[in-house]
Symmetry: D2
Subunit: 258 residues, 4 copies
């Protein structure tokens, strides 16, 4: 039996994500939170944010979570290639933390030879009834997020299939505020509870609202892709010997917002 | 100035490959042949074929060749992503060697969850004037190949953009001969001289004819792709921890020919 | 100067429609309403709905509206082909009128030779910075529609680029209610005022809510497409001589709702 | 049973055409030739070429041919929409006649608002196992054409799926010769016999060689498309009332060759 119903597949295809409520029970959530309390986070350079890196290596509990059939079974049906885990981490965020918009199907990337509007690591397609998404994230929420003030996940409608870039035009006009603060007609919030699973096509332009409420906002995230993809690491440019690996950084709000 | 003229780009796009004659001069060809004579080949399991593995590591001369602007400048214009070398090797082939057809845009791949008609590692696209080919090979010929009997490169016209698979139907009908021997209306030969460069979209279904003439048939090959792609290695199935890397093996003639 | 800003084009591309507020002033709206009061509507077979057919022929004022640069200038930038008017009509709707969902990029169409998931008359594409939408509607609102109870335009997010059908699965499960009444996670309302213009990609699955408020709901609609497209008429099947023209009727809610 | 085998469909998809030998027997060919001898051709303005226009109206025999299941059954499987006949004609060509290259998936079309690289009347796609070609021609050969000197059908490989234009660059460089005379690496000839059927995706860039042999070269041609498409007529520009119909004339060799 497929892990996703026809309507779930329709929603993932048309919106670029899918929320499955209550995949993980309260005791599992408690266990995962306790495990993170034992681990040592790093400072990722974002305000009021702690990151637990490389969970598949540092925690057997999270390594198992990354292979959990409730996640992987669903992810398989939107990747449809032999699968591997590209990254696994958790984020603990406090008040005033924010995650600016990133992703988008056609945001611009400057290369030596010119500017391109494709990042192949997120370029997805469809063939004969199946989606082929090369980079899919599974977000396991360990907190309730019930309002924008809780720092909700937000996204630009249809951006995972956009034919045009959105951010460069704005930057060239001199605009330096994030759409998260300034608004955009199709910027939309998603509210979830602890234990919910969000499956995300990384081609979707998404971020999170500025958290205004007290308490922490905790989630674990796993990235999945075909077996030919390297572990995720940020790309700092080609190496001289053309042997270095990493992921490109097309336009994201971080590049422009001040 | 672009490395490829509009007509070269048109040819690469419409046929899936491009031959650039005489990129490497006679003394360079001699030097590369001499270098291979010093290296130790392995037996790749194909009849009358010796393979020199991992040239970027084993030979400084070939490492430089893999970064040579005459190759990389052209490859960049059909990958259009930050680039890396995925593999580099040479093949020395004698009489009766052959390379069966492989590649094809829609050949089938069996997964646990069903059969799919896409291999994302070769799925290419186009956007705003630029091609995006994730796996491009550069073949540097070190021998003249002037006839099918010399073991010429051959390909199925248009297979790099095929919407349908070709091989599975034949196999299911019980056919066990290679199209290279049996013929196909659009199987086409390409003849080259030593020093020629062939740039290849790996989505093209291609192989080589059975070599019938004496002497060796020598070429060096480099694979290129975006920086997020892992070094090439044949995929043996997902590992239990979902951390293993490798490239998928959709239907190729090797699977069916007896 | 382009008629659509980069952000308007981004919105039309990603959502399948665009609202331009206040294109027509109050006196123009009054004039168009008065013109309709002089014309004779027909009964289109929908409850509490009157239709004014073939406006480009029956009314010089509406013929001019169909060629008005404020509409056509915008439509041209999403059709990008030599243009013609395919239809022009107005709808006057009273209480309890409704328009069930229709459109959708991949809804099913039964032919003698099998079932297909494409209706080429609405199949749109993109190439080199330009959208190519073969069927675009311009809705000129002559009433304020401020709530679902006013019978607002509503649509399924992302349905203009859906890879899957939505309606057939539901029908096969025996569901006979409209999503307009039953709800769907991505069914979204659009509110407008008299004088607003809505440009619509007909591939979007859309309809209107059940009108619950008193008063009429009046709009004029023009369909545009490339010059090779025939005047709109509903398709009743191929004619025996294969010379008849008409537009296909893939799955729409009308076929299933009782 | 499908009219096209998997291999025929693969060939049509990958090359843009399909030859089916001997569909019409010698007596049928004789009958069709005799019918044309009774009809009155017009001068289409091409050297040594006579055209029999509008055959579905002027000849009951050709009207039946246009509905013949041996043609229509095959055409249906590459259009996959409710079908109509868009045009039907015959060409009788003598020595020195030629048909320059036309078609191509991305040749340029100048509009008031800019230049576009799509002609939607030939823009084809694929979805869930089926091709969707909006303009398909069936050529019924009534003569043997065994060499380029007989004026063979010729085409540019892969041009039906080209992402780039071919002709405009050449014209801008001042080249005024046809590729038919000048050659192109992927210009390819097709030889046929009387009674053969050639099914053609009009997106393929094709033409015929200059006829050098004596005798006539006779064929009947039928154009097919979805029922929403108008009868074929050459487009002379939009009419002022935006009601005129016709087919666009993107770049073809006729525009440039002198």
């Amino acid at each position: 039996m497929p892990a996703l119903s026809p309507e779930e597949l329709y929603l993932f295809d048309t919106t670029g994500f899918l929320v499955v409520p209550g995949v993980f029970g309260p005791s599992e959530v408690t266990g995962l939170r306790a495990e993170l309390d034992r681990l040592h986070p790093v400072d990722p350079g974002f305000a009021n944010t702690r990151r637990y890196d490389d969970l598949p290596t540092t925690s057997e509990l999270f390594a198992k979570l990354g292979r959990d059939e409730r996640i992987v079974g669903r992810v398989r049906e939107v990747v449809n290639q032999p699968l591997r885990v590209l990254e696994g981490y958790a984020l603990r965020r406090g008040r005033d933390s924010v995650l600016y918009l990133h992703g988008g199907n056609s945001e611009l990337l400057d290369l030596d030879g010119g500017t391109v509007g494709r990042d192949l690591s997120i370029t997805h397609t469809y063939h004969d009834g199946k989606l082929f998404c090369p980079y899919v994230k599974a977000l396991v929420y360990l907190s309730d997020i019930r309002s924008p003030e809780d720092g909700s996940f937000c996204y630009i409608q249809g951006s995972h299939k956009a034919n045009y870039p959105l951010l460069r035009h704005r930057a060239e006009r001199g605009e330096r505020a994030s759409l998260i603060d300034e608004g955009f007609p199709t910027l939309t919030d998603v509210f979830v509870g602890a234990g919910d699973l969000l499956i995300l096509n990384e081609a979707l332009m998404h971020g999170t609202r500025r958290k205004r409420t007290p308490g922490d906002r905790l989630l674990a995230a796993f990235g999945y892709g075909p077996t030919y993809m390297a572990d995720w690491s940020e790309w700092d440019g080609e190496t001289g010997d053309l042997r270095g690996t990493g992921y490109v950084d097309h336009d994201v709000e971080e590049d422009f917002v001040r």
